[in-house]
Symmetry: C2
Subunit: 322 residues, 2 copies
């Protein structure tokens, strides 16, 4: 009989659980709302129910190798979610232990961006790679760094916060983290909207974006304008791409990666974003890395990526345990 893992994507709004085989095939999937459970133990009860259903679907507990959870604000070492800002439960929640105890399935948990990197390595654009960096460009900028086939955790498990490297150390934009000039303040969906507002204020150029109010400008609107041939919109992506390309050139000096994999909402901008990133990267990078790293978009469907990442975590952990 076939072996499976359970991939568990714990998001602030929804929880998605899926039965996933070694090749990334999804045999079953269930989801329910996370934010309806104010008490973590009630949430765990609901998870156990869903997991029970997936175990049955797999043909029994023996067929389920492990369960992997991708969640925000995870401390990998302690197996806890710590002071999550977008989850209903406060403080330190030993979620992996709770789920494992309740279900009897070996459980591992890591940050969602790190799980996404593992997913890419097992099933996506980083298949077969041992050294790469995954960058998620969404509301914020997250990352997962893989060195010699393993996620980099660091001393306390906080490695890979590349959204908070300083790309404009002088007169940089304020970042939600309280610092200034962070990559996230420029190269997230929010960053693109901020660039749009800045450009609209400081430049005289005509633009389709002038038809909407500043507060309604989003990265999606900028993309749509760029598709229409809007010069200012394209300049906004050029600006964003240049800063991201410079940042990736710096990241290359750290771990000499084979590739950077870009993922998340902002990648929908396609070539408008990718072209200036690649061009600037090759222009700015230290000579040794010029011919190596390539910059790719994720190959996973956005709807599957998180749950496949969590499944990849379970498969990898399964291998480690043996």
């Amino acid at each position: 009989m076939k072996s499976y893992v359970i991939g568990f994507d714990l998001g602030g709004t929804n929880s998605v659980l899926a039965l996933v085989d070694k090749e990334g095939g999804i045999a079953a999937r269930t989801s329910f709302r996370t934010d309806e459970f104010e008490e973590v133990d009630e949430y765990v009860d609901r998870c156990a129910e869903v997991i029970g259903g997936l175990i049955e679907r797999a043909g029994g507990k023996e067929q389920v190798v492990a369960l992997g959870i991708g969640a925000p604000d995870v401390n990998y070492e302690s197996r806890c979610i710590e002071n999550a800002t977008n989850l209903p439960w406060k403080g330190v929640v030993p979620l992996a232990d709770k789920i494992e105890r309740k279900t009897g399935i070996r459980t591992v948990m890591t940050n969602d961006a790190k799980a996404a990197a593992l997913g890419e390595m097992l099933y996506g654009a980083a298949k077969g790679m041992k050294d790469f960096i995954m960058i998620t460009l969404g509301t914020g900028v997250g990352s997962g760094i893989v060195v010699d086939g393993k996620i980099v955790y660091g001393k306390r498990g906080f490695a890979g916060e590349l959204g908070h490297i300083s790309v404009r150390p002088e007169n940089g934009r304020a970042c939600p983290c309280g610092r200034k000039g962070c990559l996230e303040a420029y190269c997230s969906a929010t960053g693109v909207a901020r660039t749009a507002v800045e450009f609209l204020e400081t430049r005289k150029t005509d633009s389709l974006l002038r038809r909407i109010s500043a507060s309604a400008v989003t990265s999606k609107k900028v993309y749509e304008a760029a598709v229409e041939g809007d010069g200012l919109a394209r300049e906004i992506f050029e600006y964003t791409g240049r800063i991201l390309g410079e940042a990736l050139a710096d990241c290359a000096t750290f771990s000499d990666p084979e590739a950077f994999i870009l993922f998340g909402g902002l990648t929908k901008a396609g070539e408008f974003l990718l072209e200036p990133v690649v061009r600037t990267y090759h222009e700015m990078v230290f000579e040794n890395y010029r011919s190596t790293a390539c910059i790719l978009f994720s190959e996973l469907k956005e709807a599957d990526a998180a749950v496949l990442g969590a499944a990849a975590l379970a498969w990898t952990a399964g291998i480690d345990f043996k």
Copy 2:
């Protein structure tokens, strides 16, 4: 009988070989000039002679576990020195294989900065640490990154060129690597001298450094002036330390290290350098890392550090091989 390794520090001017025990004790040491050997095979013959002497001193071949070489421009995977700029031999030199064949001692070779990091981990300030970053502040800026107890090599072995992260992406200084705004252009001994020349030109302040010609200003002279209480000299270290502190804050987001270990000529500036580095680091670093990483000076004697690093490489490799 006691086990040893041979640590071999291959520098552009001198080659230093030492018999080193597990605790970092140096039982014997020999050195000879590297630059006298135009032919690599003659050089290897000389090495074999010296190694023979050290083996005898150890009490026979069985007592020597492995030989570790720290050298410039090493490709760790291919065991070759490639296109070294400061060595007499051109092209690709399979030095580790040549030495191993000639001596019958298991040989490993890595870049000098990476060997230095291993030395610090086994014998120095990083003893017992599994995640740290070693920064060498000499004529240039080198680095060795340790993640989960292992040196980060990356796809082609070029990981850890932190001297070439961009600290001033806008209007940055030219770096010898051909790019602009690199850390090395500011925080090396050469960088400090450049800052001094810039400050002397653009500021009116009186300074002891005005007594010497611009071309004679070195980081050592700046240090001596700082010791005398010279305001401008202290400002130069403040400026250098701030930039280094900012850069280390960025590096922390990558691997969440337990410590940064600073090594090399520039660290002789002591508190003049360290105080602004630490202050700026804690001011600039992303919240998660604020309470963790400490910034330390190397604990190895400068004269021993390179050879102990090479020895540490041999010991570590020895462990891997078993």
